[in-house]
Symmetry: C2
Subunit: 407 residues, 2 copies
Amino acid sequence: MARIVQKFGGTSVADVERIKHVALRVKREVDAGHQVVVVVSAMAGTTNRLVEWTGQTSRLHDAREYDTVVASGEQVTAGLTALALQDLGIAARSWLGWQIPIRTDDVHGKARIESIATAEIKQRLSEGQVAVVAGFQGIGPDGRITTLGRGGSDTSAVAMAAELGAERCDVFTDVDGIYTTDPRIVAKARKLDRIAFEEMLEMASQGARVLETRSVAMAMNNRVRLQVLSSFTDTPGTLVVDEDEIVENRVVSGIAYSRDEAKITVEGVADRPGVAAALFGPLADDAINVDMIVQNVSADGATTDMTFTIARADLDRALAVLQRQRAALGFRALKPDSNVVKISVIGVGMRSHAGVAQLMFKTLAERGINIQVISTSEIKVSVLIAADYTELALRALHTAYGLDQTE
Amino acid sequence: MARIVQKFGGTSVADVERIKHVALRVKREVDAGHQVVVVVSAMAGTTNRLVEWTGQTSRLHDAREYDTVVASGEQVTAGLTALALQDLGIAARSWLGWQIPIRTDDVHGKARIESIATAEIKQRLSEGQVAVVAGFQGIGPDGRITTLGRGGSDTSAVAMAAELGAERCDVFTDVDGIYTTDPRIVAKARKLDRIAFEEMLEMASQGARVLETRSVAMAMNNRVRLQVLSSFTDTPGTLVVDEDEIVENRVVSGIAYSRDEAKITVEGVADRPGVAAALFGPLADDAINVDMIVQNVSADGATTDMTFTIARADLDRALAVLQRQRAALGFRALKPDSNVVKISVIGVGMRSHAGVAQLMFKTLAERGINIQVISTSEIKVSVLIAADYTELALRALHTAYGLDQTE
């Protein structure tokens, strides 16, 4: 007998029929004698509609009211899922964030979980009752509903699993696992049986959208074994586990890409100490995250060019911030470019293998793809290239690193 | 400066545009310096859809989960209405049943309000903040969401008004007031400026659907002045007030009708003491309410016929109950008839005026309308007639009692 958390995303609970299907899936684990906590998202489309309504109603956007409105979606699916389980003869009840309670900080719309009270749920689990938890939501110090931000139900599930000491946290979604890269682009992409937490974290933050970054980090920190699998098929999914649980010997595990990038080149800034701080300070003050940075070699010894990347959504705001600082920074021109993509090669095996970055540069060079910016970490090499080359680059790299599926 | 509760029904908050319109309506009272509590229903159609989903998900129907699902509708409109008010520059926040809290008993799906904590809301009202309260919902002794049953948002509004000592409770709906009878049937129906609580109570329980019976009774008991008006027009509505506030001298205030009736005649039951108890006991045990009753004069001195009415929705169940008791009751035959309508003439003036019932019988007789069952109370005369005569009877009675609109 084990304790298991099963999280079902929006497409898995899209309508009453799908919710009944979810109940059957949960029943399997119950029949196997396991204690099961089910975490549910809102029905697919519901959250978007509710968000849209709040936007149409008010430009001012009080995040507390936003949370009140948007959290209703998960409330509905939690109740319906409990009913569907009961209909199969399984004792079940729904739990809303404030009922557990899942206490969060006061950052409405993007709250962080601070504590989860589990005594009563543990008691009921031990009596054979399934707990159906509304994902994405908690209660703030002000006694009002908070939501956890994008992908928040993943975070709810992992937090519940950590707090309950669950053996596994199954994340049911509309894809059947984590792939070496996007199979819609690379036909030979391979589903991974296992992936290390750190790799998954990089994959998620570098553009792979299956799991939300925060939930992966939380799982890693709390050593919650994640499984990503599809609620539409019965095939085994991908286990996200500790690095030492991966026996396969591989250098690169996956290749991620992100189109949400924009590049800004600041031409002709003074080439002197403190210029980077002067440039990036105002951006940080405006909560604009800078990702990759490259400072060109000075041509004239007096001025230089700085190139960096930010989220594409922040581009207009970043340009405005820099223009306001023009006098202080004394640059010649700002050159924005949002026609770029960031491609990242990821693998914990890089730690003990040299030449990974070199293979990337060589492979791209052979295809005539120009690298605009490079950044590396212990287990990742990222390059920024022109967006037009996305598919070509992904396919070439996938083959070069030996990731292609073999018949 | 007064304290006012304004309740908006489902059609008044049917979409974002309507909600913005509601906010403008509320703003008027705020601008006039009043303290305003807004109680909102779910968007029109939402509750029905949620109820349908619970029915499709489970035949077993756990009322606690039902409440969790269904109460989400009012949660959405409460948040959106607060946002719409904020957008007009009015300080406002939403309050869910459990946040206030509105404490109820444990009868999920049909709960009764037991207490309302108002200290914090009063404080905020005094600071100029509008309180937007999600109607229809409370929190039970089990810490779970309860709902108040059909028309529950009216009850929420009146309960808030009573608890806050509000000067008035405005109920905004899609009709512009209480009419002497249904204007869709009687073109000369007249909107009443005022109606007494007791009359309104009879109107509501005899078929007029504008206000829910329970909320009228609560308003009467707590002397909450109600106003029924339309959120779609700017015309004054109908005030529901104490009898002594009505100066107009009238005997009959309105004529209600209900098509939700069914009649059962039990033929050939023993004409002896205790037969009524033997007949109606099993129905009461099955929670079937009997409304009108007539016992015929015995023809043979040994057996008699009993005729009574029940809600049409209970007809099949009532017949089954009686059939099971056939041996004990020893009747000859059961004759059901659901092709009937109950017409009620209502007015507190009847207390001091004789001849009201007589005029009703005479008017119907002149039109050749046969009266099947009669029941009377201090301020009401009801008759059961064949449904085909509904419109004819209503028009004739409306004229006979001098209720017709004059140019």
